[in-house]
């Protein structure tokens, strides 16, 4: 928790959609993957992850399907839907725009 940088509103949705673009994952898998790829900058706790998954599923962007872990335990795996893919493309564009704009502002400083 201590390592978490304050997540921008909406950034978590983008990170989850991007993570599921590669393959279906369950809750822990998603959190692990985000932490790994961002090298521990983003640690997503279950208190943010599960509500976000609920929201994204309700939007129709992801779908939850029950599957089995290696241990034989049931777990819910999330899959990106076609609508989710379209949404991800849209959010990527928006993010790049914001990213470029903020960088330009920061470049002014130096």
């Amino acid at each position: 928790m201590a390592k978490t940088t304050g997540l921008l509103q909406g950034t978590l949705d983008l990170l989850i959609l991007r993570t599921l673009e590669l393959r279906p994952l369950h809750g822990v898998g998603i959190a692990d993957r985000i932490e790994q790829v961002t090298r521990g900058v983003f640690v997503v706790g279950p208190g943010s992850l599960f509500p976000a998954l609920q929201r994204l599923a309700e939007q129709g962007w992801i779908d939850g399907e029950w599957g089995e872990l290696e241990t034989g335990r049931r777990a819910k795996f999330y899959v990106l839907t076609a609508a989710g893919r379209a949404q991800l493309a849209k959010e990527k564009r928006t993010w790049r725009k914001v990213h470029t704009a903020v960088n330009q502002v920061l470049a002014e400083e130096t």
């Binding site: 928790m1 279950p46 208190g47 509500p51 939007q59 049931r74 777990a75 609508a83």
Partner: protein, 253 residues
């Protein structure tokens, strides 16, 4: 079409509330069990691993509560819960319910009464044509709020008037009516002739205006200064008539 998807989720929750909750239970439990298993793999005891998972994040119950709060239609659900709770409380204590209902009823009644008063006095327009052009004129002596106006002053005002279309005077009186059968005492209003220029002739009823002989005449008005008006007219004017006789009414140009 995300709203269709959200409606679908809402419908599922209405139809299978228990199954949805069980699935959430299982999903969150699995999450924590995996964390605990990892802790134990690092050499922690089961209790230590549980504690670590709870400390690092929130407990399973808090997580589930957050998911429930994120769900679509959560406000409807919470409102319904509140209503059900309120209904139970009210049914359990009829005494409290009685006074609560009484309080609301009195509040509503008082508000309705105040509104009808404000509506009648302030909001509804007067029945005269162009009421916004009618003003009431008083004299204001030093140290007093207002007083009646001497007839001679009124005549001077009416003669020298350049600002108003017409100026009329009015005062109240009591008179005996002996037209038929028992004589009756009537409250009457005495008004000067331009009264009907000021307030207009309403509803086509012709007021009965009778010039009084030998009364002083304002230069321009050309008609009687004081007149008696029959009772039906007085009655029609009673609601809107000012209460402080004698007064002067005037119409601004």
């Amino acid at each position: 079409m995300s709203w269709i998807s959200r409606l679908g989720y809402l419908w599922q929750r209405v139809r299978h509330p228990q199954r949805i909750d069980q699935e959430l239970d299982e999903e969150v439990q699995t999450y924590f069990d995996i964390l605990i298993a990892r802790g134990m793999a690092r050499g922690l005891s089961r209790r230590e691993a549980e504690r670590a998972a709870r400390l690092a994040f929130e407990g399973p119950e808090q997580v589930k509560q957050r998911v429930r709060e994120a769900r679509v239609g959560v406000h409807i659900e919470m409102t319904l819960q509140d209503l059900r709770y309120a209904w139970r409380v009210l049914r359990k204590s009829p005494g409290f319910t009685f006074f609560a209902v009484l309080t609301i009823a009195l509040g509503l009644g008082a508000n309705a009464a105040i509104f009808s008063l404000v509506d009648g006095v302030l909001l509804k327009s007067l029945e005269y044509p162009e009421p916004e052009r009618i003003v009431q004129i008083w004299e204001r002596p030093p140290g007093d709020l207002r007083n009646g106006i001497a007839a001679a002053n009124y005549i001077d005002w009416a003669n020298q008037n350049q600002s108003f279309e017409a100026i009329a005077a009015q005062t109240g009186d009591t008179m005996s009516y002996s037209g038929g059968g028992e004589p009756r005492s009537l409250r009457v209003g005495l008004v000067s002739a331009p009264y009907f220029d000021v307030f207009g002739n309403q509803g086509g009823a012709r007021p009965h205006v009778r010039p009084r002989r030998g009364s002083p005449r304002p230069r321009e008005s050309g008609s009687a200064h004081a007149s008696s008006v029959d009772e039906s007219v007085r009655r029609r004017h009673r609601r809107d008539r000012p209460r402080h006789p004698p007064e002067r009414h005037a119409v601004q140009p």
